[in-house]
Every structure is written in structure tokens, then in C-alpha cells.
Symmetry: C2
Subunit: 150 residues, 2 copies
């Protein structure tokens, strides 16, 4: 998919990433560094705990979701910078070998009033697993370049 500039998006458009999964070892490695809670890093505690096994750190799910989105190529040349992430929620656990994909909807397009070469793109992300269970939702705000000739 080619880079899109701010003007190339339309509110309501959706995009779907390819899918990818995390192994139990990958989940435990990531969490041991960044989010070392028992249900992410301790197999025995996780088996006895509320989820019945190891689940992924929400930060890991988000990182994978971002990579899957980025690989769509949509913002590869147009992204100036990520402004923020809002409303990150994890309604269902991510387990080892779940295949996740990121379904993205354009919710707002706002050209800058002070800088005519850029504007803000707001995207709603829905991360689903192989059974179409929503495991994470979040929105992103990005500063994107406008079309060079716009």
C-alpha cells in the first residue's frame, strides 16, 4: 500500500492489517523487561490465576498492533510524528499463539490552521484475535503531511 497524505484519507474508511501472533516465550520475554507481573512472567502463578495461563502485557499487544498498522505502509512517508494515544482498553486477554490483526477506521481529519503543510489524523484501532474477539481498542492522533501539491 502506498503512502497516503492527510488529504488522501476519508472519514469512515477502514483498513485491516495482516495478522501476527506472539509465542509464550516472546510474551514472557517482553514482560520480564517491561511489565513483570505474575500473569505475564510466571507460568505456575499464571496457571493458578484468574486467566488460567500466561497472557500478554497490554503494552506488548499495543506494540504489535502498531507494527501491524505501520506495515500497511499508509503513513510510511507522510507521518511527521505521533501526537498521542487515547482510550487504550483491553477487553479480553491475549494468549500465546493468538493471531491478532488491527482494524483501523479514520475518525477525524483536521488540517492545521497555522501550518498549511500538515494536519492531524485521528484513527480508531480495534485489535481482534482469530475468533474476532476484540482484545484491544485505542485511538491514535498523528501529525501527517498534506499532499505535496495541495
Amino acid at each position: 500500500m502506498h503512502t497516503r497524505y492527510l488529504d488522501d484519507f476519508s472519514v469512515g474508511e477502514t483498513f485491516e492489517s495482516r495478522s501476527a501472533s506472539l509465542t509464550e516465550a516472546q510474551i514472557m520475554d517482553f514482560a520480564l523487561t517491561w511489565d513483570p507481573q505474575p500473569f505475564h512472567i510466571d507460568k505456575q502463578a499464571a496457571l493458578k490465576g484468574q486467566f488460567g495461563g500466561i497472557i500478554a502485557s497490554g503494552f506488548h499487544t499495543q506494540a504489535l498492533a502498531f507494527r501491524l498498522f505501520y506495515d500497511l505502509g499508509l503513513i510510511a512517508k507522510s507521518n511527521v510524528i505521533g501526537l498521542g494515544v487515547d482510550d487504550a482498553r483491553w477487553p479480553a486477554p491475549v494468549r500465546p499463539d493468538d493471531a491478532l490483526r488491527n482494524i483501523v477506521e479514520v475518525v477525524e481529519i483536521k488540517p492545521s490552521s497555522s501550518k498549511p503543510d500538515r494536519g492531524v489524523l485521528k484513527l480508531a484501532h480495534k485489535v481482534v484475535n482469530q475468533n474476532d474477539v476484540v482484545v484491544m481498542t485505542f485511538t491514535t492522533l498523528k501529525i501527517l503531511k498534506r499532499k505535496p501539491d495541495a
Copy 2:
């Protein structure tokens, strides 16, 4: 620091983590996997770009900030699960070797009306570097256990 249960927190209380830094190699490794944008993974492009050098992925900053918060020990035994993250913003870049710390303020404590053994804790996080420049802000919502004898 010992684990605190929901009832042990007070609105307005603040906690400050120890500090830690990310090397350029760590920043580039993380970003190559999760956020492979030029200003995170390509030294030459980064030097010529808007930041004048490699900067950390916002997801990397957030992951480090969470680990620093978790290491305070406050929620080690009381956390049931992270519910969500709101309003993540990155007002200034994080550069290699910046020493970051996470300053956390309790903003809301809400015992559950349906489950008397738990409730929601809302924390505002401010991540600052060695010059006290704010590089990230976000709020977290966690389900925490109430005091076992409450």
C-alpha cells in the same frame, strides 16, 4: 515499598520512581521490531531529520515508564488487572542516554459497587528527563484489591 491496597491510597498523593536510561542501541532495537520509523531506526535519516538524531519510540518510553512505576512495588500484590491507559502524549523527544523517571499522582479512587473486594485506581503519570523536561504524560486505570480485612 510495600504493596498498597485500594484503601491505602489517597487522592493527591505522589510517588516518584528511580530513574533509568535507554541507549541508542536499545532504542533502535526496540523500534526495529515495533515502531520502525526513520527517526527511530535510521541514524543517517535521523541526523538529517526534524529531531537531529535518533529518538525513542513513544511505546518504548511508555514501557520503561511502566516498569519504573511497577518497581516502586506499590501494586505488586494488589493489582488485579490494568483496565486502560488514557491521554498518552509525548510533548518532548526522548534521546539516547536521557535519564527518565516517572512521577505518579493519585487522581481517583473508586471502590466497586458490585464487587466489594476491589475498585478502580486512577493514576496520572508524568515522565521527566534529567533536566525535568516532561517527555510523556498518561493516565492509567487499574483494578486493585481492597484491603483484605476492609
